[in-house]
């Protein structure tokens, strides 16, 4: 079991307690026939990701994950869903035909096999450092010095997205 079991038992337990529901919810998300349910399963995955960030010591990213993903993007998706179609109960027309689904599953499984082989091959047994907490000010300093240009570019990107969405969503 040395592949999946690291040194710190409590943290490992925490990892699996979080990871298992995440994977389950992710699987439900891609298989459920109800679009709103899918969005709610996505919430579970996103909260799980946030918890994993905590385990990785990325406190600020975790809070951001909650604020932006759960508080905003999911709400946006729910709006989108309700604006287009959000039946209660099952919706027949959400999946592609079975052959394509099987092909998709095949692709996913092969991809996972290859990736997990590569990951285990390359990083087997690598322990994360015990002290991995990154204080906010380090993140901040990095953004406002090294990554200043991407930061400003982000604002332009957001502006472009906004204008694009307004142009698209409104027909003049």
């Amino acid at each position: 079991m040395d592949v999946v079991w690291g040194d710190n038992v409590a943290q490992n337990i925490a990892f699996y307690v979080i990871a298992i529901p995440m994977v389950a919810a992710a699987l439900k998300m891609v298989t459920t026939k109800n679009v709103v349910h899918a969005a709610l399963y996505l919430v579970v995955v996103l909260v799980g990701v946030s918890a994993q960030f905590i385990l990785l010591g990325a406190e600020f990213i975790a809070a951001t994950q909650i604020l932006v993903y759960v508080g905003a993007i999911v709400v946006l998706i729910l709006f989108g869903v309700m604006l287009t179609r959000a039946k209660l109960g099952r919706d027949a027309e959400v999946n592609n035909d079975p052959t394509q689904r099987i092909a998709g599953a095949l692709v996913a499984v092969i991809l996972f096999a290859v990736m997990s082989y590569a990951i285990i091959d390359a990083f087997e047994g690598t322990e994360l450092p015990e002290e991995r907490y990154q204080p906010l000010q380090v993140v901040s300093d990095s953004i406002f010095s090294t990554y200043l240009v991407p930061f400003e570019a982000t604002s332009v990107l957001l502006l472009a997205a906004l204008i694009g969405a307004i142009v698209l969503a409104r027909r003049d």
Partner: protein, 121 residues
């Protein structure tokens, strides 16, 4: 590190606690409350009349733009917070950086305003 994780463990415990608390109360309620099934009780309420058309029908709420604006400004807030804690160190340079950032996003708000999509239709 473990202190850091512990504090979040506490938060997680609190989250769990809320669920357990409601579970207990609803469980207690189950013992107290009656359950007398009658079809009428499970009808959709629509001011006393039978629901017109489908009980549930799609709304066309067009505040999509509001939600979008919100997402984008939320992202902005995410960048503002780390900046705000460190402004003293960054000084004037940091201030200008952020002023540009805010200005560019405010342009977006202005654009939405001018395009008259800031209306609840």
């Amino acid at each position: 590190m473990s202190e850091f994780l512990r504090s979040y463990l506490t938060i997680a415990i609190f989250g769990g606690l809320a669920v357990v608390l409601i579970g207990i109360i609803l469980g207690a309620g189950r013992l107290l409350r009656p359950t007398r099934a009658q079809d009428q009780k499970y009808l959709t309420y629509e001011s006393g009349a039978d629901a017109v058309g489908d009980e549930w029908s799609q709304t066309q709420v067009r505040y999509y733009i509001f939600a979008l604006l919100f997402v984008l400004f939320d992202v902005e807030a995410v960048f503002i917070f780390p900046w705000a804690t460190r402004l003293e160190e960054y000084g004037m340079f940091g201030l200008i950086e952020m002023a540009i950032f805010i200005f560019i996003l405010a342009l977006g708000l202005l654009y939405a305003w001018r395009k008259k999509v800031l209306r609840w239709v």
